[in-house]
Amino acid sequence: MYRYDEFDQDFVAARVAQFRDQVERRVSGALTEDQFKPLRLMNGVYLQLHAYMLRIAIPYGTLDARQMRMLAHIARTYDRGYGHFTTRQNIQFNWPALSQIPDILAELASVEMHAIQTSGNCIRNVTADHFAGVAADEVADPRPYAEILRQWSSLHPEFVFLPRKFKVAVTGAERDRAAIQVHDIGLHLKKDENGRPGFAVYVGGGQGRTPMIAKKIRDFLPEEDLLSYCEAVLRVYNLSGRRDNKYKARIKILVHETGEEEIRRQVEEEWERIRRGALKLPQGEVERIRAYFDLPPSVRPREDGAAALAAARAADPEFDAWVRQNTVPHRVAGHVAATVSLKPIGGTPGDATAAQMDAVADLAERYGHDELRVSHEQNLVLPHVAEADLKAVYDELVSAGLATANAGLITDIIACPGLDYCALANARSIPIAQRLSDRFGDAARQREIGELKIKISGCINACGHHHVGHIGILGVEKKGEEFYQITLGGSGAEDASIGEIVGRGFSTEEIVDAVETVVDTYLAQRTGPDESFLAAYRRLGQAPFKEALYGAA
């Protein structure tokens, strides 16, 4: 894992002191709310529906046990005993008092964490594949590049006041688990024919009220040019992105209105001008950063676990189901990466109590080589678990209420906080997610349905990623009532697509039945268990689902 150097530590400490002063000036009256608001947002502090909300960055979703324990401590000491892991691999606390936030930030700084650039019109936390460094289908670990981008973008003086927020995601695998094509910049780490690392560069993806799949503007960007090329993209955006209308200010609108060819031309022209300058990445520096992300030396091939694991699986069907659903092969023999589901049946997606955070931190320390991940699907990951330890890990997860065997299944639902917490929302998301989870919670039924991603947003800002849900649900308000619109066929993976609206919305009472109708239609019409919901939808089109929901036209 990356460790702060002296510069990082001083930088974060200075920022805490600066924000403490700003809070004191706000409380004393030296700053008005209008003056204070952009300052608090730059430090991740929102004023939400019920209280202040603090969003803390977890760079590329990687943290260690000490950091997770600090999050538990903050939940317990300064909040209401829980936190909410988000679709951008961050964590949010829903109830901090403004007067205590400087203390929270100081505590975070003591474990190399902060809340800088988790809000505001700047480059946000860079996200990455949650199986980075582990996945068998990976060309190389994307996190060193995410860290280089983090250092470059932190308080970059040119990009602190962009037209709108700006999100970057990186994957190093063919299978896109980082949803790079719905980001402002998506980077696909690959190698050229000579084995040199570089990136396919996607620009102008996003969700919100105008969902767009990103355009690939460069098929291969050499590694050394990463920063200069991103700087060129940001410069084109900063110069030409709209500032007169916040709903048209994201780079996706600029790319759409300008056209892919012209954007490519402008970026390449700017890049040609700056590519040989100070931003060219020195190989030594890349290697220095990369070394932070080497596998822990203690992760060595092991052959001692397979027999015991097989016996444990045979003896405990629930454990067997969990291993099948929540673990993936590790590139080191005798190990797996284990998803810790934050989607208990009937629970709130992404929430974890302080006790659960401590429990996961303990597991990371004892069995996980002190490393954890947060996925953009609002789960946690123990990335390096020996097969020999898997049953012990599972048993402790059961005790902590964290052993739901549903990774990638229909109850592994992404949901934004919705109208239960969010000042922007029009409708509730969490109760819909809970009812769907209860409806489809039977383990055998989930397995029969197979991979199916439901994503729920409580407003058109789409924080719940409904546009890329295989089944997307968008909450709207109509004459004072909550209604829910269904979209079908979305995907945030390498086969990215925006879901299509299937028809009129459904009331709160109707929506769970409506989703069940969609699922039953899929089960009735699929060619077999090997045809996923998304594959079946793409083969069948919308018609059978529409007819099942609304009757024949």
Binding site: Q48, S99, P344, G346, D420, A425, R428
Partner: protein, 105 residues
């Protein structure tokens, strides 16, 4: 006749508050001052002064009805804002789920 409440967030901790009959602020909806239309402008002016005095943040009016003597905001958003999340959270959520799964009340 439409009735109103004046609401804001308390500066120090951000919690939702309502203007009360004494000109102070309460977190309890039941203690909120129900305001007739002809009194609304003065109540909002008081709220603005309290904003300027750094007691609350961004006061605004919401429409309400009164049921059994207690204000009930008209919009769902404001009802949720007044009462808190409609779902249990934290340890309470965890315990409720465990109880439901084990069949205990």
């Amino acid at each position: 006749m439409a009735l109103f409440l004046v609401t804001a967030n308390r500066l120090s901790d951000g919690l939702v508050v309502f203007l009360d009959p004494s000109g102070g602020w309460t977190t309890a909806l039941a203690g909120a001052r129900v305001i007739a239309p002809d009194e609304l402008a003065a109540a909002l002016a008081h709220g603005k002064a309290q904003h300027d005095a750094r007691i609350v943040v961004e006061p605004y009016e919401i429409e309400t009805t009164v049921e059994a003597g207690v204000p009930v905001p008209v919009r769902l958003r404001e009802r949720i804002r007044a009462a808190g999340p409609t779902v249990p959270y934290g340890e309470a959520e965890f315990e409720a789920r465990v109880a439901a799964q084990s069949g205990t009340p």
